[in-house]
């Protein structure tokens, strides 16, 4: 073998060895990535078949790893992005909205809103943290202090304090930097409790029957727990 061929082979081996240390792994249809305690990650699949997933880094230590399923082709061809929470306080104008006549757009003021790599994403969450709608900002000021975004369809939203969260697109091409959230007080459409049993219709399996609320899933540690909607019950577990 010629010297040059040997050297090129060596170079190739070096590169393979280096690359091998950087990636995650796969085995049995499972992929994994290193993560840091308390951080959140989003796994984005590229196979047009698997859904994106979010993960928190759970570890008894400082760092660990999290696993996620391989894509529909059995490969780990995914992009893992780490969400960065910048934690800035933002304010919305108008600060409130009548749900029967919502404004077409809101203006968010604060800092660090950035349109360099694409307009930021603006998500509207209800008072319990459920997503109401997600829109793309229409403009961001050059100094990152003002953003304008449309208001999503609020026809199924109820009165309460909403969170309007702004996320910047980064050089990776993904929405990764969560700038912060503004509050938006909405009124004009109270959450209905048709049967008056204390549980709102959208959390009551029997919204028109005051005698029943639970979907029949008793579960739990014992059978004498109160009949509550699944997402609100307080577990009563045995003593140890």
């Amino acid at each position: 073998m010629k010297l040059t061929t040997k050297l090129l082979l060596l170079v190739t081996l070096c590169l393979v060895a280096v690359a091998g240390r950087c990636g995650g792994g796969t085995g049995g249809g499972l992929c994994s990535r290193i993560c840091f305690a308390g951080y959140e990650y989003q796994v984005i699949y590229h196979d047009q078949c698997s859904f994106s997933r979010t993960y928190q880094c759970f570890t008894g230590g400082y760092s660990g790893s999290f696993s996620f399923p391989a894509d529909c082709n059995g490969t780990c061809n995914v992009t893992v992005i780490e969400w960065r929470r910048l934690g800035y306080s933002l304010a919305a104008a108008p600060a409130g909205a009548d749900l029967n006549a919502p404004p077409p757009s809101v203006t968010i003021t604060g800092q660090a809103m950035d349109g360099t790599y694409g307009m930021p994403n603006v998500q509207y969450f209800d008072p319990n943290g459920y997503l109401i709608g997600s829109v793309t900002a229409t403009s961001v000021s050059g100094d990152g202090t003002t953003l304008t975004a449309p208001v999503p369809d609020l026809s199924s939203a109820y009165s309460g304090t909403y969170q309007v969260q702004v996320t910047n697109k980064t050089s990776s091409g993904y929405y990764q930097d969560i700038v912060g959230a503004a509050t938006l007080n909405c009124w004009g459409r109270d959450r209905p409790d048709s049967d008056g049993d204390g549980w709102f219709d959208d959390e009551d399996c029997y919204p028109y029957d005051p005698m029943r609320t639970s979907c029949g899933d008793t579960g739990g540690c014992n059978n004498n727990e109160p009949d509550m909607p699944p997402h609100q019950y307080q577990e009563i577990c045995p003593m140890y």
């Binding site: 993960y55 696993s67 943290g129 577990e235």
Partner: protein, 312 residues
Amino acid sequence: MRLYESLKRARPTLVALLLLTAVTSGTLIWHSTADSKEDKRAAETKQKQHERLRKGIGSEVRFAAANDTPEQVRASVNSAAEFIDARSGLKMSNETRERLTEAEINAAQGKEGRISVEKLTDIFTEVVTDRVATLTDQEVEQAADAYSTPEGEISSRGSRKWGAISRDEFIGQVKAAREWSRRGDAALRVAVRPMMKEEVDARISVLSESLPESFGRAKAEGVTPLQAVVIGYSVASDDPLADSRNEFAEQKRRNRMSSGLTRSEARSQKRRVSDRPFGLDGFSFSSPVNLIFNRAAVDKIVNHGKGGQTAK
């Protein structure tokens, strides 16, 4: 002329050498930059994790000091019991509190030694292997339900680091493990111990650095029975013991926001979610902690010096 010929012959070799040097240097620079970035990142994570632990277990549990009165020790045990209850719904009985108080006093007075990290790993391994042997089919189903992720997979760790499998696979594996354990097959113990070691070591390491006043002696001298119970709960529930209970409601809302689900999408998952972050249906991570971390487990910890007999 001869020199020119020599250079001409050597040119491919020189090019390759130059290429190798460039690649190696580039790789070294890249690695060094990446390493320093990672180091900075690791230091930040460490700092944050220390703060979160101090806000959680550090401020909500008061571990007894050597010269504490029995009343102070009792208050310490009660604070740990309330801490575990607030996070997972597991309630400590008065009888267990009394036995733990006694064990803590004995450990403080040096009558019964602290529990070494190795011994603790052995105890937890035994707790798991013994519990697996006595699981009923119904309890295996309950465990599968509790460990079920929103995607319908089963994972016994929040990070899914030990993998995520289907419900049928999980039930099959646990039942097979149960048979091994009942037969006294050492294979289960051999498989479980390294996992327990990894979990215990990680917790001891973080706790001793975050809360040196309480856990500073853990690596060298071991932990007290109450500390062992808290670590046992942490391993069983995968609760990192971080963050204060005042933050749970906000965390639950933030978790929902991170999932990006609408109310109807969340509802279609048909998941029960409690108001506590850990334990059965915990909003951060759900586990059948009540099946694993029971009275027999605590007995093994409290009676570690007596072979871990169950209290009558």
